[in-house]
């Protein structure tokens, strides 16, 4: 089930709709999120940072589980946090503070693993690269910085080097409003939008500016086309501009260099954009509180969701497994009894020396077996898990084991199917070849 989540800076909760049927799902209550402040952590639960009064010294990050509309876990980091991001498996949550610091928490334990000075001004957006090894941050000071997680956890190299960051792109003259990263690992492109009315395309491998596109209005959000032919830019004048990435400079219309076209049905500014996962759908949120789903090819509105009166400022597309079917009921009840559906709140400060021996974070690359998703879990947690496994009594462990077995089963089924198919294909091919061969020889004979 592909689900659209939308939140607003005015309290309207988090709206949730099925993208394909349009049916509204549960509405999660009491959420006042800033832009880029809504994430789904590994599709397991929803997390959102909260706007707070300017006088408040601490921030606030709330967790919702998929099944309950109420807030389940509340955490209060040391500083107001605006943008949030989590890596794809959902083991880390990263938050950008208004002082320019970036906080990195481990989800399972809620521990604050790292905090570092990233920007001179407030961080406005955070995004993980496709393989989760890089973190890209945009800031109010107009810089876009690329951080390698390896470097951040490597204290020794961090002290040696002048800068923690891999790149610092300082082309924008005003605050960065959105950053996206394309596919292609280390050779990807980064597109950043800013209030200076430009979008800039950067090369991750070379660390250079590839393209500068000037728009007629401020761009608040970007969505990359999956094939990276174009990107969509939602602007404050209510239009969604389409900018070319692959073609050479085109200046066909009066919009400007590289801008292919635009479409608009928004009365007010477009504040956020997202791209559907399975279909060619573009989803936009607007200042008037509507969420519109466009067919990206025809640029027609397919669907509209009314979220709230206030501006929508976050849209998320999440693939959700139907949880009730998936996990056997007894396990669920077991875990519910424990209240372990959601992880503990995020810690305010980094734990000091007491666990120093274990603190060095271990990074597992998934080893040789490609089936295991690379996960970044601190050794402390792993040792806990190992203990539980040894005791054999823990429900989480059994749950994990069944999960793993199920996964293995599924994989082997897939494999057999694949083999079968391959065998059939091969067989077919051989037969055809033989037939063709004999046919050809007979033909030749006839000819002669």
């Amino acid at each position: 089930m592909e689900v659209v989540l939308a939140s607003s800076s005015v309290d309207g909760g988090i709206g949730c709709w099925d993208l394909h049927t349009g049916a509204e799902q549960l509405r999660y209550k009491s959420c006042l999120s800033p832009s880029h402040g809504l994430i789904s952590v590994g599709s397991r639960f929803i997390a959102a940072s909260q706007l707070r009064e300017t006088s408040a010294t601490s921030g606030s990050v709330l967790f919702w589980s998929w099944s309950k509309p109420q807030v389940e876990v509340k955490s209060f980091p040391a500083e107001p946090i605006k943008p949030l991001a989590s890596n794809h498996p959902g083991t880390f949550i990263v938050g950008g503070a208004s002082s320019g610091d970036i906080y990195l928490w481990e989800v399972e334990t809620g521990r604050l693993l790292k905090k570092w000075r990233a920007h001179f001004r407030a961080v406005t957006c955070l995004v993980f690269s496709e393989d989760d090894s890089l973190l890209i941050s945009g800031s109010e000071d107009g810089t876009v910085r690329v951080w390698s997680l390896f470097m951040i956890f490597d204290d020794f190299r961090g002290q040696q080097a002048n800068n923690l960051y891999e790149y610092s792109f300082s082309g924008h003259t005003l605050r960065v409003t959105d950053v996206v990263i394309g596919n292609g690992g280390c050779n990807a492109i980064i597109v950043s939008a800013s209030e200076d009315r430009t979008c800039k395309v950067w090369s991750l491998s070379r660390g250079t500016l590839l393209r500068n596109i000037v728009f007629p209005s401020v761009i608040d959000s970007i969505a990359l086309d999956p094939a990276e032919h174009v990107f969509y830019a939602g602007s404050r004048d209510g239009k969604i501009y389409i900018a070319a990435l692959n073609t050479e400079s085109v200046a066909t219309n009066n919009c400007g260099m590289h801008i292919i076209g635009s479409f608009s049905n928004h009365s007010k500014a477009v504040t956020c954009l997202a791209y559907g996962m399975s279909e060619n759908l573009l989803i936009s949120g607007s200042e008037d509180g509507m969420v519109r789903v466009w067919n990206a090819r025809t640029r027609n509105i397919v669907r509209m969701f009314k979220h709230a009166k206030g501006p929508v400022n976050n849209i998320l597309v999440v693939r959700r497994e139907n949880s009730t079917n998936h996990i056997s009921s007894n396990v669920q009840t077991l875990s519910r009894k424990q209240g372990a559906n959601l992880p503990p709140p995020l810690e305010k400060y980094a734990n000091s020396i007491d666990e120093d021996s274990d603190m060095s974070t271990m990074v597992s690359l998934g080893g040789g077996s490609s089936s295991v998703v690379p996960s970044y879990i601190s050794s402390h947690l792993i040792s806990n898990y190992i203990k539980e496994l040894q005791h054999q009594g823990s429900s989480a462990a059994s749950e994990m084991e069944t999960e793993k077995l199920k996964h293995d089963y599924q994989r082997s089924m897939q494999m057999t199917n694949q083999w079968k198919k391959m065998y059939e294909n091969l067989n077919k091919f051989c037969v055809q070849e033989l037939l063709d061969g004999s046919q050809a020889t007979t033909l030749d004979e006839n000819h002669n």
Binding site: T54, S99, G100, R117, F120, R121, E140, D141, G142, T143, N163, S170, T173, L174, R175, I189, E195, D196, R197, V201, L209, L210, R211, N212, V218, R236, L245, N246, T247, E248, S249, M257, K268, E287
Partner: protein, 935 residues
């Protein structure tokens, strides 16, 4: 037309030829082969005819068949009668020559030269070229002079024969006689090379180069020196001729000549020329040209995103191996430099030539050191592991030579007896040596005591402790200083201990003292920009550290100077202004981390006001600052830096608002200003009251010509701007949040402005803003309702009277008319508050009554016209209101008011004051239209 005509003509031609061929074919069918005919046809008419010919029925096949049927006779028997002459063969050529008379060419010895180009002495080019290889040098010289003369007289001659001439003349490059070489040099310089500017230059260069190289290895030193002059000439004439294939040879020859210093010490002028040639060669090396930056800039716009890119720039490829040759040059250069050192101390006064030589030598060393640094950079990038030891060894040789021989001489202290002028020259040399030292220091570690000495010199230079005799000497010194400035950021970021603060202080002084708009100032600004990120990151770690405090003090001092600098620069130096604005923006971007910095940055706005605009106290006099006349890019930068002030105060907002109202401001910039102010407001950098007052000022003061053009808003850009600006402002106001609160804030200001009767457009915009924040049952206070009711009627009547009426048939209903635009805010008010409508209707009635009263006392035509206009205006307003469905209902509530108006009109009509026919008719029409409403 003509084309088709030609085509038909062609066809006709083909037809005719076909017929002719057919006739020929028929007449001698036997002798003519069809294939021959076909060929002819092909020549004449192409395929059409061939086809035609092939269509002839059966001819071809039959003839073929005939020939085939004949039995093959291999040897024909020929019988010859004896005594008869053999007939001539058919294919003989007639060789007989017939002529009426025989003419012999002239046989005199003196050649006839009429029609040929000759020089003053009557010699042709051919003769002159022959004479250039005469054994007598005087003849050769004369010949060269003659060629020069000839070419200047007959440029056409030169054009046609230049390659031949060059081919012959090049032999003279290695001539033994000095005068001949000199005149050849002149000939090339003045006549031949300038003429070849647009031709194939490479050919000429390739013709000359072998001979030049030949001359460079000549036994006589004079010839060699001259050869370098020739080389210099060619490089000047065609710089690309400095190609990798020649470069190696060139540098080898230079090295050779420098080694034999005993020859040239006598003649320093020659050496100076040769050295300046070497400087030219070195600066032609691709990495010393410094053009690559510009090239890349263009690229980003055009390139395909994922285009393949060569790792190394193409042009430097061939040169990379030359670096070794360059290294060999250094010892020779230093040795010859050392030859000059005794001169400084011994001689009474130094002549210019030896100074020139020394300066050139140092310049060469500087360029070479830079090239080597570049080469090692390249190497370490491309093959960090492989080429390591190799590079290191080379480097050591160079740096040790420099360390042993050159740097101990520093500083070159002037002897007491030298004049001020010579001291200045020595100072120049010192500066260059310092530059070489710092350059070298970047990639090898040099002894600290030397570094100390150089840094001290650098500090003194920055502090301006040296004296210059003349203004030009100072200019030269500044140039050198500009080249030294980029090293300051490098020292600072490396943490040079106590030197950091000393250097920074000295640098700050230079920054302050240098003339605004000068290159030195610009270099200072870019040096500050380079230091900025380092300083900021240091300050962000901790500020208590005394070293960091030094950094902070320096930064504060620079920030303090920026606004004044901007104002001093004015609009005369756009490049400098842009650099300063960029610096200001960058400082702003990272100014949040430290309260002192924030404070300093915020304080800048007070002095920055004058950059935008200055308002004289009391008076209306406005004096615009340089902002308005700067190019777009700089304006953008300065606006962006506004966003980073932690709070924008009223005075600067005021001066920005004044700027917005200026006629010279582009409307794009105006919208950009509003946009940036809005983002600043959203982030809490502007107080809401100040922000709203800026809006109201803009809307109220924006000047629009009162006359309406016939074609409406489209043709009036100012009016259009005001309209779209109002739209933008209204949308921003609507985004602010609680509309009720905003209304409370702006209500009084706007209501106070209405009775003062701003122009129609401004009132309309004000009303639009008011309507935007108001809600359906109005939230306006009683007092403002009554004020509005009092004044809106006049506004409405003005609107109807001033604006040309909409073409009801012409404009489609989708596009709202102009009149409608002006009336709409009032309609909203009527809808939300019926009382306003009541008041307005009443006011209209009384207006008609008042004007009719005036008529009673004085019945001049002016008053009659006035009165009629009022009646018409009221009528059209009421009709327009009536068209709106919503308003129609409300109007029915106030029927008695409308009736009252009708009565007034009737009484006016019946009073008999209006006597003229046309006017009577007009009032009748109005009455009829009114009565539709009351029905």
């Amino acid at each position: 037309m003509s084309c088709s005509f030609e085509l038909s003509l062609c066809k006709l031609f083909v037809e005719i030829h076909c017929e002719v061929l057919v006739l020929r074919y028929k007449s001698n069918l036997q002798s003519l082969k069809l294939s021959v005919l076909k060929e002819e046809a092909l020549e004449l008419g192409g395929l059409v005819m061939v086809e035609k010919i092939l269509q002839w029925p059966g001819k071809m096949t039959r003839s073929k068949a005939n020939s085939k049927k004949q039995p093959g006779i291999d040897f024909k028997k020929i019988r010859r009668k004896i005594g008869r002459k053999l007939p001539p063969p058919k294919n003989t050529t007639n060789t007989e020559i017939k002529s009426k008379a025989i003419v012999l060419p002239e046989q005199s010895v003196a050649a006839e030269k009429t029609g040929l180009a000759v020089n003053k002495k009557g010699l042709t080019l051919k003769e002159l070229l022959q004479q250039t290889s005469h054994h007598n040098p005087k003849v050769r010289r004369d010949a060269l002079m003659g060629i020069k003369d000839l070419f200047t007289r007959h440029p056409a001659e030169q054009k046609s024969h230049k390659y031949a001439a060059v081919e012959k003349l090049r032999e003279r490059i290695g001539d033994d006689d000095k005068v001949v070489r000199k005149s050849l040099y002149d000939l090339f310089k003045v006549v031949i090379l300038p003429c070849c500017k647009e031709d194939n230059q490479e050919l000429i260069v390739s013709l000359l180069m072998p001979y030049i190289f030949n001359a460079m290895t000549h036994l006589s030193v004079d010839v060699r020196m001259m050869a370098f002059d020739f080389l210099d000439l060619i490089l000047e004439f065609y710089p690309p001729s400095f190609s990798p294939s020649y470069a190696e040879k060139i540098f080898l020859n230079y090295e050779d000549i420098l080694r034999r210093n005993q020859y040239y010490l006598q003649d320093k002028g020659k050496l100076k020329d040769a050295l300046s040639g070497l400087v030219r060669c070195l600066s032609l090396l691709p990495w010393n040209k410094g053009e690559t930056h510009l090239h890349n800039k263009d690229d980003t716009r055009q390139r395909v995103l994922h285009a393949f890119e060569v790792d190394m720039p193409m042009n430097s490829n061939g040169f990379s191996y030359i670096i070794k040759n360059l290294k060999d040059l250094v010892p020779a250069l230093i040795n010859s430099f050392l030859e000059f050192i005794p001169l400084i101390h011994s001689m009474e006064s130094l002549e210019g030539k030896s100074f020139g030589c020394m300066a050139s030598i140092l310049h060469c060393i500087d360029l070479i050191v830079r090239s080597i640094a570049y080469g090692t950079d390249k190497k370490s990038e491309s093959q960090s592991s492989l080429g390591g030891p190799d590079v290191a060894i080379w480097d050591v040789t160079i740096s040790s030579v420099l360390l042993k021989k050159l740097f101990p001489l520093f500083p070159l202290n002037p002897a007491d007896h030298l004049s001020a002028r010579d001291c200045g020259r020595l100072l120049d040399l010192n500066m260059v040596i310092a530059k070489i030292f710092f350059e070298l220091n970047e990639w090898t570690c040099l002894p600290p005591n030397l570094l100390e000495k150089f840094l001290e010199f650098f500090e003194n230079a920055l502090l301006g402790k040296f004296f210059w005799a003349t203004q030009s000497a100072k200019a030269v010194w500044e140039e050198h200083l500009i080249q030294l400035l980029p090293f300051i950021p490098k020292f600072v970021s490396r943490g040079a201990g106590y030197w950091t603060s000393r250097l920074l202080q000295a640098f700050t002084l230079t920054f302050r003292e240098s003339k605004p708009g000068s290159m030195l100032k610009l270099a200072c600004v870019s040096a500050i920009e380079d230091m900025l990120t380092y300083i900021e990151s240091m300050l962000s770690i901790e500020t208590s550290n005394p070293e960091n405090l030094n950094l902070q003090d320096a930064l504060l001092a620079w920030i303090e100077d920026l606004p004044l600098l901007l104002i001093q620069l004015g609009d005369k130096h756009p490049a400098s202004s842009q650099a300063v604005l960029r610096l200001q923006l960058h400082i702003g971007q990272c100014a949040l981390l430290n309260s002192i910095l924030v404070c300093m940055y915020d304080n800048m706005q007070q002095s920055l006001q004058d950059f935008y605009c200055t308002c004289q106290e009391g008076g209306e006099q406005i004096c615009y600052g340089p902002f308005l006349s700067l190019p777009r890019e700089s304006q953008e930068l300065s606006l962006c830096s506004l966003y980073y002030f932690s709070h924008l105060d009223q005075p600067i907002l005021k001066s920005i608002a004044h700027c917005c109202l200026s006629d010279d401001l582009d409307s794009c910039v105006l919208f950009r200003i509003i946009e940036i102010l809005h983002s600043a407001y959203r982030d809490g950098h502007i107080k809401i009251a100040d922000y709203l007052s800026v809006f109201i000022t803009l809307v109220l003061r924006f000047k629009v010509s009162p006359e309406f053009g016939s074609s409406g808003l489209k043709s009036d850009p100012l009016r259009q701007t005001l309209k779209s600006m109002t739209t933008v402002l209204c949308s921003y106001i609507a985004q602010m949040g609680d509309n009720g609160l905003v209304l409370q804030m702006i209500e009084k200001v706007i209501i106070d402005q209405i009775p003062q009767k701003p122009s129609l457009d401004n009132s309309c915009s004000l009303l639009r803003m008011l309507v935007t924040v108001d809600s359906k049952p109005t939230r306006l206070s009683e007092q403002s309702i009554s004020t509005l009711g009092h004044h809106l009627s006049e506004y409405l009547m003005d609107a109807v009277q001033c604006i040309p009426e909409d073409d009801e048939q012409g404009t489609p209903s989708v596009q709202l008319g102009i009149q409608h635009y002006y009336l709409l805010p009032c309609f909203f008010l009527f809808d939300r508050c019926h009382k306003v409508m009541n008041l307005v209707l009443k006011k209209m009635g009384s207006a008609i009554y008042d004007s009719s009263l005036l008529l009673k006392s004085d019945k001049c035509s002016q008053h009659i016209r006035n009165c009629l206009n009022k009646v018409n205006a009221v009528t059209s307003v009421l009709l327009l209101m009536h068209k709106e469905a919503k308003l129609q209902q409300i109007m029915s509530l106030f029927k008695e008011n409308i009736d009252n108006i009708v009565e007034e009109v009737i009484s006016l009509q019946s009073s008999g004051k209006i006597s003229m026919k046309i006017e009577e008719h007009e009032i009748k029409c109005a009455l009829e239209r009114l009565q539709i409403l009351t029905r």
